[in-house]
Point group: C2
Chain length 376, copies 2
């Protein structure tokens, strides 16, 4: 069987302190089940990072989703795409017919007060929270490739601009390069508007037989990889090799080349992330990703739009939900359901999510999936 996406759904994204994680899940799951035509669900994979033990069965049996295997998975920021990947593999290998993948995170519960790096985390023990790690990568990248602060800021300008068309996004205000650079410094050179916000949200997808359908998005490939030990002699900045190798494996399995991809959702937790990722995927040679921003290549309206939803930077980044929110966006794009932010003539989409410690001293994971529009 070739697995396909029968339906997707999401909550809104943002600080939603009044909503219980169950309520966020219900919004996403009900929309996905309706979208899929309510097939019988044989198993459920749920991705979350900080969800309480038992969050999956607790939340889901109120929807009548009982008496099926429910498995919660965690893979840091890639938890949602890990749930998607496990659902996809279980359908591909004939284990289940229709599987629900769900992602949920209530970040405002977890980070209600001051945020401290986790004390048992080797990066945390060094004082390296994620903004600091990404900032170090950005500085290194700037040094290697002669890239300016203004260049970095252009990612935020593009993605905040995209989010204006996404009514479920957390931040929908367009910003100029000057505004991005003038926002509060978080970790030099990354200013506030270059960092993904704390968000609550949920997203879901129903994976099943892709069959012939005017609505089902085909899953051409899905690859999950975990990174090896960081080689400090590497000439690349963090994550580059893992994203490059995972994306290459996913595109090879799908039989496509980087130039074939029409629309991408990728892990822009910080502006530098999108630049490195677009290079690692192969949209530009290493060190030249900024050109994609200057010439409008990755803007909606350009040949290969990246993060039309607004990305993690603007849609928000509820960890466990993010991967499935990316999947939902690409499904909407490939079905022509993306409204104001619709990418024209999108036949092939790619999703990339990065999870775990960015320095690679801490273990990390990457999921890349290639999706294809319904064959109408």
């Amino acid at each position: 069987m070739t697995a396909g996406l029968l339906g997707v759904g999401t909550s809104s994204f943002g600080k939603q302190q009044d909503l219980h994680p169950n309520e966020l899940m219900w919004l996403a799951v009900e929309e996905a089940l309706d979208d899929a035509g309510r097939p019988d669900i044989e198993a459920i994979y749920l991705g979350t990072v900080f969800g309480a033990p038992g969050v999956a069965p607790r939340g889901l049996h109120h929807l009548g989703l009982t008496d099926v295997p429910i498995i919660t998975v965690e893979n840091a920021c890639a938890s949602g795409t890990t749930a998607f990947h496990e659902a996809t593999q279980s359908v591909e290998y004939g284990r289940f017919a229709n599987v629900l993948a769900v992602g949920v995170e209530k970040m405002t519960d977890q980070f209600a007060g001051a945020i401290h790096p986790e004390p048992t985390d080797p990066e945390g023990r060094s004082g390296l929270a994620l903004p600091g790690l990404y900032a170090m990568a950005a500085s290194r990248y700037q040094h290697m490739h002669g890239v300016t602060d203004e260049d970095l800021a252009m990612v935020a300008v593009k993605n905040h601009g995209h989010a204006v068309g996404n009514e479920r996004a957390q931040h929908r205000t367009p910003h100029t390069v000057e505004e991005v650079l003038a926002s509060r410094m978080i970790a030099d050179p990354l200013t506030l508007l270059q960092c993904c916000p704390i968000a609550d949200g949920a997203a879901a997808a129903v994976v099943g037989d892709s069959g012939p359908s005017a609505r089902t998005v085909r899953i051409r490939s899905s690859v999950l990889a975990s990174g090896g030990l960081w080689d400090h002699r590497s000439d690349h900045v963090w994550g580059f090799e893992l994203i490059r190798d995972t994306a290459a494996a996913a595109m090879e399995a799908a039989g496509v080349a980087p130039g074939d991809i029409d629309v991408i959702e990728c892990h822009d937790a910080f502006t530098i992330g999108e630049i490195v990722t677009t290079e690692a995927i192969g949209l530009a040679p290493e060190g030249e990703g900024v050109r994609l921003l200057h010439d409008g290549h990755t803007r909606v309206g350009g040949p290969q739009p990246v993060n039309p939803s607004g990305g993690l930077l603007s849609r928000g980044h509820p960890l466990g939900a993010t991967g499935l929110a990316q999947i939902a966006e690409i499904v909407w794009q490939l079905r022509g359901d993306a409204g104001a932010r619709q990418v024209q003539r999108a036949r092939l989409g790619l999703v990339e999510t990065m999870g775990g410690g960015v320095a690679g001293i801490d273990g990390n994971a990457c999921v890349v999936a290639v999706l294809e529009a319904p064959s109408t």
Copy 2:
């Protein structure tokens, strides 16, 4: 392919505050890899309930276990058996050749001070911590079946007695019925020695092709189920239906009957748990499980020993590790490697783990696996 257990390993169990979760994992994983003859591992499933995000890649890449997909799973107390189940299914369906399943929990980090039921948990909001819920089940069971406090205590006497022969068990002191009943009351009728202790520990298993081997334990079946909504009109106590149905499905898939099983590790988190579980598996008619204790049926030396390791009550219950510790015990028993607690002529073993809210208002899960001795 028919999946088999190529090797198993565990840490010791107990309060081990000086050991980092990584160190607990290393002990279990190194032993399992050595036991399996160090095959190439293609994927890793790790079960934990309270493990920090990223616990799996952080811990494992120090062992050189890098560049393979690593997926952390959670299913409350059944997290370890969920990791085992996913590993087994991925081998059975031809997704991977050799998979490592790991379970780990550092309970003394999590429960360093006073323990409060989780505030977002519907049972917790009612003041119902697990001992209270099991105590209510025990009281109901006593009312229905005329069972005495002494009868309940006999489970603890048996399992604490078994653990004397298990040098990795947390509690290795034998106790009399009088001592069990005289221990501090936790939740009437359950005294301290009828409740599983707070434990740290890890366990691991290598799942691969069972092939013909003098050492590989064949996985005849593995079934993971999640429970439905609790029917308050039920004539059974909590969990009975879920365990009964999951065990029946696992035994049917394995082509065996309850009377064929030679040795069992089951979820005796509290004494009442073992009584209900042995009935649900089919060793005794409902309400008559106490007879198995009175006539020595489930004691090592009897026809169907239950929890020869000491069970959760005496080996200890490090949540995510428990399921794989049960698997390891049955593997040792079926290979004849169980030393002082060896069950004679054990050809078929059964593992049962229960996860999640015991009242069923909270979602729960059950995993049952049937294992067969190497075909020497």
